[in-house]
Amino acid sequence: MKTKIHAARNKLAFSINSQILELYWEIGRDIAEKQKKSGFSNGFMDKIAEELKHEFPEIRGFSRRNIYAVVQWYKFYSAKYQFVPHLAAQIPWGHNRLIASKAKDIETAEFYVAETARNAWDIDTLEIQIETGLH
């Protein structure tokens, strides 16, 4: 029984994680496209963050900093991908955000995503790995 419970929670964790990342991808894309089309300044993102934070106060993901990070993450990967890269969807948002902000190119990022998934690095370990520039 315990195994079943652990398995159920595990399955859920991955499933919900990908769902969140898919949502962020769409939010990132919407904002990036709006910016490009209408030439909005950063004030636009601030406004969105404020509105979302107001509507969903319990969701940390809509802080101003995180909205910026979502858009940056989207822009980073959309150079190569149309949808959330499959492997990236297997690791948590925090890790994704860190990698996209520090990796110098997509190839490097993909390396870190794969290593994170393979070794189940916690975010501190991941940061150290990136800083010490393995790749």
């Binding site: 029984m1 079943k4 159920a8 919900i16 949502l23 209408s38 909005f40 300044s41 509507e55």
Partner: protein, 363 residues
């Protein structure tokens, strides 16, 4: 200035679509959790019945199982004795040897055999939170009646209270046996039902996500540290348990830590918070003290003492609560105090000691 004009028209429209999309995503995620939880209860009930644990173990079985599951998953409140009994009842209700049952049963059995983790089966049963289900299978007489309320709830997005109201008004007999083949993939985002799924503590709890999880992580660490501190030899504290269930009114609540003090001969209830102290904590502590006094304390024990420890990044606050002997049982006016009366002073760690002991803890 162009920006501002554009902000209004197209932007507002887009923003409200975005908000809806986010809501739907939330609901979708939580319906997934709800589904897993219901499947788990179903399997639990099935196993308990099929393996006839009760005849082997007798009436203590549920207590034992609950304890074992609590040990492994201390924060999962869904495995209380009450809930485990309900899980069995849940399974038995829908598993009657009967034609119509096979349809309900199929909704449960199919997803289990289904390989895909992604899309939900159209099983409407999964969109209803556990507590709605409890009402349904304890109060309905037939599966037909149960499915009637299941469908009506989803169709109309009923909250639990509203559903109960209609069940008491016997809507089923009034509306006849007309079955709707109505099927939604997800509850309506603005409905009461969606709200109940979103706020359901059993669901949040199960996956321990977001705010409650972070706080719980901290509280876990706090719990481990305080336990270690209090169990140092010579302090006189005997460990009884963590996340100890007690009945408070109609509900079941969980005491963070329960100790028994061997010199004072009384229980000590400890409430831990990874946030700043708030006035309402005093009331909560009071409830727990009363509960322990009624449910655990023996006549030979002294009145229970409470302790609340609030630890934030910057500070630790500790308060003791001692039931004033002039207070009748049941009045939850417990005043917290940093000052211990003399007869307790030498026996209980004082506030500074605790604060020092915990200040070394990284948060």
């Amino acid at each position: 200035m162009n920006e501002i004009k554009q902000f209004n028209g197209e932007y507002r429209h887009w923003l409200s679509d975005l908000k809806l999309q986010i809501r739907q995503s939330q609901i979708k995620a939580l319906v997934k959790v709800n589904t897993e939880l219901l499947l788990l209860y179903w399997n639990l009930g099935k196993d308990i019945v099929a393996r006839q644990f009760e005849s082997t173990w007798g009436s203590g079985f549920f207590e034992r199982l609950s304890r074992d599951l609590h040990d492994e998953f201390p924060h999962l409140k869904g495995f209380s004795v009450t809930n485990l009994r309900f899980a069995k009842r849940f399974y038995l209700f829908y598993n009657q040897p009967n034609e119509i049952v096979r349809q309900a049963d199929a909704q449960f059995e199919t997803p289990i055999r289904c390989q895909l983790g992604g899309e939900l089966e159209n099983g409407s049963i999964f969109q209803i939170p556990w507590r709605h289900h409890i009402e349904i299978f304890t109060k309905c007489k037939t599966i037909e009646e149960a499915m009637f309320y299941v469908h009506k709830t989803i169709e109309n997005g009923w909250s639990r209270a509203v559903m109960i109201h209609f069940m008491e008004a016997n809507l089923y007999s009034a509306q006849g046996k007309a079955r709707t083949n109505f099927s939604r993939l997800l509850p309506e985002p603005q409905s009461d039902l969606a709200n109940e799924i979103l706020k359901d503590p059993y669901n949040f709890d199960f996956i321990s996500i977001t705010e409650p999880f972070r706080e719980r992580e901290l509280e876990d660490a706090l719990s481990a540290n305080i336990t270690e501190f209090l169990m140092e030899p010579g302090r006189g504290f005997a460990y009884v348990g963590r996340q100890v269930p007690v009945k408070v009114g109609e509900t079941e609540r969980f005491i963070d830590l329960l100790f028994y003090h061997l010199d004072l001969r009384c229980y000590v209830v400890i409430e831990l918070k990874a946030t700043k102290f708030e006035a309402e904590f005093a009331g909560k502590l009071g409830l727990y003290i009363v509960a322990v006094n009624h449910q655990r304390k023996k006549a030979t024990d002294n009145p229970t003492i409470g302790m609340i420890i609030c630890k934030t990044k910057d500070s630790v606050e500790v308060e003791y609560s001692l039931e004033s002997s002039s207070q009748p049982i049941g009045v939850s006016e417990y005043r917290l105090s940093k000052l211990l009366p003399d007869n307790y002073k030498s026996l209980l760690p004082d506030i500074e000691e605790i604060e020092e002991g915990l200040n070394g803890l990284n948060s």
